[in-house]
Symmetry: C2
Subunit: 330 residues, 2 copies
Amino acid sequence: MPKTIYDIAKEAGVSIATVSRVFNSSNSVKESTREKILKIADDLGYHPQAYAQGLASKKKNSIMLLVPVMSNYFFTEILRGTQDVLADENIELTILNINQEKGVFRQVEQIIKRQWADGYLLVSLHLSQQELQKLKRYKVPISLLDDHSTHFDSVSFNNEQGGYTATKYLLNKGYKRIVFLSGSKEALPNKERYKGYKKALAEFKIKPDESLYITGDSMDRDGFTEKNGYEAMCKIISLDEPGEAIFCTSDIKAVGALKAMNDANVRIPLISYDDLSISEYIGLSTISQPMYKMGCQATRHLLNRIDNYDIIICDHIHNPELIIRNSSEI
Amino acid sequence: MPKTIYDIAKEAGVSIATVSRVFNSSNSVKESTREKILKIADDLGYHPQAYAQGLASKKKNSIMLLVPVMSNYFFTEILRGTQDVLADENIELTILNINQEKGVFRQVEQIIKRQWADGYLLVSLHLSQQELQKLKRYKVPISLLDDHSTHFDSVSFNNEQGGYTATKYLLNKGYKRIVFLSGSKEALPNKERYKGYKKALAEFKIKPDESLYITGDSMDRDGFTEKNGYEAMCKIISLDEPGEAIFCTSDIKAVGALKAMNDANVRIPLISYDDLSISEYIGLSTISQPMYKMGCQATRHLLNRIDNYDIIICDHIHNPELIIRNSSEI
DNA sequence: CTGAAAGCGCTTACAG
DNA sequence: CTGAAAGCGCTTACAG
């Protein structure tokens, strides 16, 4: 039922090769022929089928962005960067949501095997080095964002530094019992931020107190939810010795934590992590990361590698920045 | 370089037809042969190429979700619904971000022409009836979410009802000067909500006051940003007669509006729209819509139509629900 | 249970 | 500037 290149060629009285040339902007087509074909194609609602083009040309002219959750500002900013870099490139961008419950590696490998795109941008997927190594054999352009590896181009944050900066600030203000309000303990960024937290404590000769490592009970999305933050804060409040300040590993959790404080009518200084668009408006002191810029970078890495698979591997690590607003200043 | 069906067939000593059958779960393959082929495929990292399969079988086994912005909870919930419906279907789901600045219709039509998927779920795209009519000729399964049409299956909200309910509540509390804190005046949902707002006023014999129709100056994302809400609220506060209550057309804008109130140290009752996940935690009274459920519905419509293009068109309109929390209760 | 062969809708040297 | 033809990597009747 849908029109094919044959329909157009017949209608225009030319060969399919000529029609193909028109759509591949080869300049070796007579202007009048080109216009005629374009007109017919428009009338008939024709455009070359992506799948057939991909198969014949062995190029997909598309890249795929693989992400675990796309609920947040974090991802939106990255996407903005990617789209801006792609703007003059004539490359299509599709997004695939990876289900964290169903084996991240399996899903990623499957997509790559099926050759959906010319290259893949893996965002916040945190595969193990061993898994990344396995992906290497497909010899396909892959670029990592919010993840680090020697196998692929990567753009990542210095999470340890972020945890360190936030904690240090609190320590400098004189607080000693600082709570680490955590997400899932297994999540890599969480571990790294905890490292930074401990490093800062160490500088102040404070031993990390296990009972101050606290998370909520709701564990969907690795615990990065308002609900988890609320639950965690309730636990903190009911501690025998509640803690004098809080380093919270995400803004979304902080929203929950703030509510719990309000409900219980207590106020504990808090610094969180992400700098979502709402954070400015609810006065969160937080660690900010240059997400737009990183989206641009990671995308450029990918395009370069599609262009030439054998160029040297790039590895950018960005230092986050502490932004002080109300929540830390009591 | 990547392995093809020929490599596998040769290695296994069978024809490519047999290899193909294994991957299409045809049961007419000897168990031992199947296992052998699967083993070889796994060793060699082979899986049938999506594009070649699509071309040969004329089925993509994939659907595409077209959305304008995916920053919000709104979209995340819909996605959850879609994914849950797709869970046992063996259909891939890809997402395509539509750039509102670059001609929504043109982008959508292009995607459809190129035949990326077996069907398309259009979310919050608000094409005109005329444009939808044009898409009709491609005879391709399309399902609309947060949009209404007689041409395609659709699942939408009764925005007028939402605006009416919110405004009525405020009127019932005795407020007379009610501000309509708007997004872009051209946006369809905005218009519909405004209709409901006026309808409620009419019941109270109040003439809509033009000077109470207020929006901010930042107009990215159709004005649905914290910043726009903040700006609008500043205008409201500096009104000669400020208004006794506010109906705000989105929670994100309300976040900005609340901050502006705080900064100016005023408190005006406010009801907003969306019920994002944070809204509960910051005490927003708001209009809530069953997004997860609607994502499920729209996806089922689409699958049914892919199954049989000629079934009768479905049209669900959902009534939103008012949820009272702090922001409206001063 | 398996294979040979046609065909899906394109692109792209090659030749003119 | 244009066409004939091979080929991309699969699926799927058809035949056995």
